[in-house]
């Protein structure tokens, strides 16, 4: 009796573990992705631990020490209001990564949901949704984002200051224009899963549509969703930086890598590292997300053995 119970338990628990183990083993073989993951982990740690790591308050101004160069007290110098650049860079990681994660969470979930509905119901529902997606995809993204954020740049949300409103607004705007890719993807996955015989077998066993979606469709769609989400994180980082750099994104004094880049423009020729370093952070995180996405794509591919 007891042994049977143990084995039954093993049947249920070993499953997840072994699958994750397989994925991890395959992911490890992808060197570049592994490096990307380490870099991202470092950035995330920095972002989380910002209050303990940052040497100064990122908002504290020291008007006596404006535009200073590097010194033992301020490793990366200070900006035009005398704020410590290193501290701002560390806090900027917080904002940039948070924006990226929240936008991705919203847009990918919405996209997946819309895509699943489109693929599962088919017919005219599918047709309408796909035409909307087509329309959204033909819009030129950056000019559109600029226009919309410009229109909303003066809006102040209740309970928030103007700068923090800009953070929320940029999240909403980027989410609004970021769901189409995942909708397309999930629709494709659902359509191909509907053709797989195992969903038919499930119906022959007496499972309802909902049960089939929960037990078979979602687990099988997870892998491509995770990959697409990872790649989307990289894109969002870039878009947010671009908007903030152009002054339509997150408003100062809240620091992001994009608006730090903007601030550094004035000193571009005298202190180029103040522009290069936030630019490098943008480049590195975005690239790392893409590498990790590629690695995950290979690791999660069920067609590959081992």
């Amino acid at each position: 009796m007891a042994t049977a119970e143990l084995r039954a338990e093993a049947l249920l628990t070993v499953r997840e573990e072994s699958y994750l183990l397989i994925v991890w083993r395959r992911f490890r073989r992808h060197r570049v992705a592994l490096v990307g993951a380490v870099i991202l982990l470092a950035f995330i740690l920095i972002a989380v631990l910002a209050p303990w790591i940052a040497p100064y308050d990122p908002y504290a101004q020291n008007l006596l020490l404006k535009n200073a160069g590097p010194s033992p007290a301020h490793w990366l110098g200070t900006d035009e209001l005398g704020r410590d650049v290193l501290s701002r860079l560390i806090y900027a990681a917080r904002i940039s990564l948070t924006v990226a994660f929240v936008v991705t969470l919203i847009s990918q979930t919405t996209g997946a949901l819309i895509g699943a509905i489109s693929g599962y119901f088919g017919g005219w529902v599918d047709n309408v949704i796909q035409r909307v997606v087509d329309f959204m995809l033909t819009l030129p993204l950056l000019p559109l984002l600029l226009t919309v954020s410009a229109l909303l740049s003066d809006v102040t949300l209740p309970g928030l200051t103007r700068e923090w409103s800009s953070v929320v607004i940029i999240i909403l705007v980027l989410s609004l224009f970021g769901w189409m890719g995942s909708a397309r993807l999930v629709r494709g996955v659902v359509l191909s899963l509907r053709e797989q015989t195992f969903t038919e077998a499930a119906r022959a066993l007496g499972m309802s549509d909902l049960q089939i979606v929960i037990r078979h469709m979602i687990p099988n769609a997870m892998a491509p969703i995770i990959v697409s989400a990872t790649l989307s994180l990289g894109t969002v980082i870039i878009l947010e930086a671009a908007l903030s750099f152009l002054g339509f994104g997150v408003q100062p004094p809240v620091p992001t890598w994009g608006n730090m880049l903007n601030n550094a423009q004035a000193d571009m020729w005298t202190q180029p590292f103040k522009a290069i370093i936030p630019g490098f952070c943008i480049f590195l995180t975005s690239l790392s997300f893409n590498f990790v996405g590629d690695g995950l794509r290979d690791a999660l591919d069920p067609r590959l053995k081992r």
Partner: protein
Amino acid sequence: MTLTQMQVQTSLDLSTDQDLVVVRGLKKYFPVRRGLLQRVVAWVKAVDGVSFTIRRGETMGLVGESGCGKTTVGRTILRLIEPTAGEVYFEGRNIFALTKPELKTLRRDMQIIFQDPYSSLDPRMPVGASIAEGLAVHGIGTPKERFEMVVDLLRKVGLEDYHARRYPHEFSGGQRQRIVIARALALRPKFIVCDEPISALDVSIQAQIINLLKELQEEFKLTYLFIAHNLSVIEHVSDRVAVMYLGKIVELTSREELYRNPLHPYTQALLSAVPIPDPTLRRERILLKGDVPSPLNPPSGCRFHPRCPVATRYCAQEEPPFVNIGTRGQEHWVACWRVM
């Protein structure tokens, strides 16, 4: 009109207590949709008026070339596809009239085995969970009892206990087909549709699966509808055989009779086309002209007439009825003007 009445009439006469499945006038048309509004521009007549019965404990062979509708018949009988017209009775109950909960209960009695063992198992699920799935859906047993049943089933189909925890990609095609069979058996069904269960497998593995299916039939008193394109396999497994061409059954009789005395010209051509592994044998072969016509626009009259070596002008005009011309209690159904 008179024809369909005739078919219904004749199959009614046939149906008795020993019939597990009775199929009457089954039709399935698939719409062909075009354009932005997805308007129906044509119908593919995949199954176009099929009637037959399957007796308790027998293997009914359904044979035909690709596109003849044999797979659609199998799917529709299990109501995995909704029919366009017709009735299917399982133990006297019309399964097309059942409500959803009733149908779910009935699913325990009828199962299906598919052609492609690679796509018929969920790649994300250990095979033990796949086999136990039906039990879980119908709330049979506790998880512990289900696991015991899974182990029992794995042994029955020739696999080992520890295989329960493995994933589908760790198995060969033949082993996967064993797993699919175990899953179908889990609910202790009375009736299994075997849809080309061996044609995706290697030659030396095919024999293993055929033998396994036969053993299980004996042990569990199963009734099979065995769908295949390979006439040698059909002869080996079936008690009775139905031959399909372009959505219709053209001939139906016992195995011995069909292979000894095929009456329909299509059956004759089909049998003569099978390569026989005996180099000393030299046979006269009936070569058919051309390809199978499209079920979108089947030929008038007898659907076989454009390719038929013995067709007359009359065959193009009127569709032959499907009638029993067997003698001395032998049943031998055939739809051909030249035979009657």
